[in-house]
């Protein structure tokens, strides 16, 4: 379960804030991510930020994926 979508905080006012999802904005409760501010990406679930996204880790994951060699169909292209 647990539909969680990454969005960017555009404004923070105490416990609440506005999060941008590719142009679509919604208020979210930021009580559980006190360290997050405008510009940070958070995972939002039922209107609550539950986690701050770690850009370094995201880049590391993508680097690992990109390091997997391409296959035959790519070579024969």
């Amino acid at each position: 379960m647990c539909l969680g979508v990454p969005g960017r905080i555009v404004a923070r006012d105490g416990e609440m804030g506005t999060v941008d999802f590719d142009g679509l904005r919604r208020e979210a409760c930021l009580s559980y991510t006190p360290e997050a501010g405008p510009g940070d990406y958070v995972i939002v679930h039922v209107g609550f930020a539950i986690s701050v996204l770690d850009e370094d880790e995201a880049l590391r994951t993508l680097a690992v994926l990109r390091a997997i060699p391409g296959g035959l169909d790519e070579i024969s292209r």
Partner: protein, 349 residues
Amino acid sequence: MTTRFDPIAATCPAPQAETERVLLGHGSGGQLMAELLADLTPRLGAGTLEDAAIVTTGTPEIVLSTDGFVVTPRFFPGGDIGSLAVHGTVNDLAMMGAVPVALSLAYIVEEGLPLDELRRVTTSVAEAARACDVRIVTGDTKVVGKGAADGLFVTTTGIGVRLPGAHVAAANGRPGDAVLLSGPIGLHGITILSTREGLGFESSLASDSRPLHRLTTAMITAGACGVHTLRDPTRGGLASALNELAAASGVAVELDEPAVPVPAQVAAACDLLGLDPLHVANEGCLVAFVDPARAEAVLAAMRARPEGACATRIGTVVAGPSGRVTMRTLVGSRRVIDMLVGEQLPRIC
């Protein structure tokens, strides 16, 4: 840790299926609605009723269509219940290859509706009709007691004249046809959902509500009898429209997921709410099955018009199994695209 598995608890309840009352889902353009119509239309002594029908035999062929509009909110980015009522019926005529000639307009007004709102809606009807080159020629207004309707319901009925070269019908799709889509999907449904009280979305989204008869005229002019089917994927979305066309034509449809244009904000809203953009309503795009030899010419004609500027090929009609719509997924697998079941509910967990 020990766990007690109770064999009695390990079964499911049999719900007493709610069959004797109308649910909101019966009006959502999906499977529930199809079941309701399958119950009702035989009582009319009629076969399957399309959104519009030819009512004369000689030439010119006269096409008739009717549609009721109950949208809330009544005013939304990109339109209102008045312009929607014009575009909806004009488009139903257009999907039969007809050019609209005249509309009737009927209001059911709830007691207490601000008069100014009724004026605004009426002005919007007039402007939309003028922009479509169609006349409002007759009408009716009823007022019902508080609570007997939700503000304002609008019904429009339209007649149109079928283009001489038009041979479109839901049953005319053939294996090999190109599946063409005139523009991005999901804008109307997500706009309505976003502006509805409670969700709290802010966006720059606007409904795609607009007339499509000039686009269909351009397509039929360019493709002649090579334009086999036309459908505007309103309630139930692209998935339901394609399922209906595939079933009516006795063919299967193969879509390519990356080819289906979904605007970023629509995709974001669908991600947040757990909805499938293929099930979200549209009011200003169409999907067509076109003879592959004519597909490029038709696509070029579509792209030459503003409402078809983003027209694109999203798939192919294949021989069978009849009525099946599949999509090649991002990872290169295949999945079946089914009709919406009932009401589209935001999914959270």
